[in-house]
């Protein structure tokens, strides 16, 4: 194991294994959510200018329910996996449920929500908990979630018009 003198902190390869887990690696390469939707109701671009990650989310609603959700674009393993896992988690949820889960995910990453019972609703997305130890990668993990939140909130405003 490599341990490093790092201004008092030590880091090692174990940290990597807690980030690049099998679940995250699998989703980063998975393609089942990486596609275009026929006649989506809405789409939204998400962009991380500092690293060039770019995703486009497409959504199809059925009343208040998210009937289909998919993405295209490119980025690092963390952002790709996070997008894919988010889609699996939120498909079939209502807008309100989705917004609640998104806020919980962002709260977990910001370390504002630590209670396991509260985090349960994140399902597989709980795999990103350790990203909060890596400030440089937080933006990659939350990109899709922020993008979807913008998309849902925009749709809400338009509905009310």
């Amino acid at each position: 194991m490599i341990c490093l003198k790092n201004g008092g902190k030590t880091k090692n390869m174990d940290d990597m294994d807690s980030i690049y887990t099998d679940l995250i690696m699998e989703h980063s390469m998975a393609s089942h959510n990486k596609r275009k939707i026929d006649h989506p109701d809405k789409c939204e671009m998400g962009h991380n200018p500092s690293c060039g990650d770019e995703i486009e989310l497409e959504i199809k609603m059925n009343g208040d329910k998210i009937e289909d959700l998919a993405f295209t674009g490119h980025g690092c393993a963390i952002s790709q996996a996070s997008t894919s896992i988010m889609i699996d988690t939120l498909k079939g949820k209502t807008k309100q449920e989705a917004l609640d889960i998104i806020d919980t995910f962002i709260g977990m990453i910001k370390r504002e929500i630590k209670d396991d019972a509260q985090l349960e609703k994140l399902e597989d997305a709980i795999a990103f908990k350790n990203i909060s130890n890596m400030p440089a990668r937080v933006k990659c993990a939350v990109l899709a979630w922020h993008t979807l939140k913008d998309l849902i909130e925009k749709e809400d405003t338009e509905d009310k018009k």
Binding site: I2, L4, K5, N6, G7, K11, N12, M13, D15, M16, I19, Y20, M25, E26, S28, M29, S50, C51, G52, D53, H74, G75, C76, A77, I78, M134, A136, R137, C140
Partner: protein, 407 residues
């Protein structure tokens, strides 16, 4: 002096066990530079040009000494041709907003290269839009070179300004400055050279290259952050209007009108970063003690080693010219099929600091048709052991990703 000996002057390496390969972003500082800054604040600190008391006069003298040192370092004709700025970015903005806005007319062209850092690109977008002038790019060929043909095609009678980097911050390649400057002057254009990546690593002679303006940042040259340099030919500086207005840069101020001081003072509004200038002067002393020829040699040897070691890894793709003679110690690469951000995270877990992303050069990254790159950039304190650690990290990253990768 060997890099192993030089490295001992950099105390950060006692506190952090790292292979620091991000000097293209900012360098580390030797204790001699930090000591000079501390000495200035402990012994000579006052607001220069203001006081009549000894301390302020001493502070002014330190500032003037630093300016003279910079002038000599890049071989300017006189110290008045050296304007202190915050960094290269501010210097480029100064020229674009002062010289650019004043001299461009509708239909004129400004020529830059596809390898420019955003700081030598976005300001030109702004002024060419305002003046309805055209922004033209010189592109590179498959071996990352700007050809003679490209220079002649892009720099034409319509060209009023050519602004070009001396070395690409992404690829480490030198641009054909001599040919570009000659062509620009033949058609009556002026030339700004972005020396941010060159000045710390090689001998610069602004008179020999005949640049009209030349800029660099101190922090890439082992100085404190927040000090940079604009060199300009005196006659050009003298005719330009100031970029920032305020204290110290004036001659007479009346209620409605102001006349300005002479260069360089007219471009230095407000209290300046004297500590930074003193630090820059100390960094120049440090480099000159080693000798710029030796600096170049140390870095060339390390680049040769890095390129040859990385070439042995069949899973790594390198973006560099075949020949090393036109390249300095900057090397862009990717692990095939792995995003550079993931590579850089795993490299960090073994203490290797590289930058991953677009390196503030998005048009170049698009032109190269890659999503982003990892960049290892070297300096005099880097050793072969740093490169070995990079190779170790790359192997680790590849091991982690290879079973998931779809080829």
């Amino acid at each position: 002096m060997s890099p192993e000996t030089i490295r001992k002057d950099f105390k950060i390496f006692e506190n952090r066990d790292i292979a620091y390969l991000d000097s293209g972003a900012t360098s580390q500082r030797p204790y001699q530079v930090l000591q000079a800054v501390e000495d200035y604040y402990n012994k000579n600190n006052a607001n220069p040009h203001r006081g009549t008391y000894d301390l302020s006069i001493d502070s002014t003298a330190e500032y003037d000494k630093a300016r003279a040192k910079v002038a000599k370092f890049i071989n300017a004709k006189r110290p008045e041709e050296i304007v202190f700025t915050k960094n290269a970015t501010e210097a480029l903005n100064l020229v674009a907003n002062s010289y650019g806005l004043e001299h461009l007319e509708e239909g004129d062209s400004v020529v830059i290269s596809i390898m420019e850092h955003h700081s030598n690109l976005v300001p030109w977008q702004k002024v060419t839009k305002i003046k309805k002038a055209k922004l033209e790019y010189m592109y590179i060929n498959d071996n990352y070179e700007i050809t003679d043909e490209e220079i002649h095609k892009k720099i034409t009678e319509k060209t009023k300004i050519v602004s070009i980097t001396e070395i690409s911050n992404v690829l480490g390649v030198k641009t054909p400055l001599e040919k570009i400057i000659k062509r620009a002057h033949d058609v009556g254009a002026i030339v700004i050279v972005d020396g941010a990546q060159s000045t710390p690593h090689m001998k610069v002679d602004v008179q020999k290259m005949d640049a009209d303006f030349f800029v660099f940042s101190g922090h890439k040259l082992m100085s404190p952050m927040g000090i940079g340099v604009l060199y300009g030919k005196y006659d050009l500086l003298d005719k330009m209007t100031p970029f920032l207005m305020g204290g110290d840069m004036i001659e007479y101020v009346q209620e409605q009108e102001t006349t300005f001081a002479k260069p360089p003072t007219k471009f230095e509004a407000g209290t300046q970063n004297i500590g930074g200038a003193v630090g820059l002067a100390a960094a120049i002393d440090y480099l000159e003690k080693i000798g710029m020829d030796n600096v170049e040699q140390i870095e060339n040897e390390l680049l040769d080693y890095a390129k040859s070691e990385l070439s042995k890894l069949d899973f790594v793709e390198i973006y560099a010219p075949k020949d090393n003679k036109n390249q300095i110690g900057v090397l862009s690469f990717n692990i095939k099929g792995v995003h550079p951000h993931d590579t850089a995270t795993i490299l960090s877990s073994v203490g290797v600091c590289v930058r991953a992303g677009d390196h503030c050069a998005q048009p170049l990254i698009h032109y190269l048709n890659v999503p982003a790159t990892c960049r290892a950039s070297m300096y005099i304190y880097n050793t072969k052991a740093d490169i070995d650690r990079l190779v170790l990290g790359l192997n680790k990253a590849n091991d982690m990703f290879k079973k998931w990768r779809k080829d």
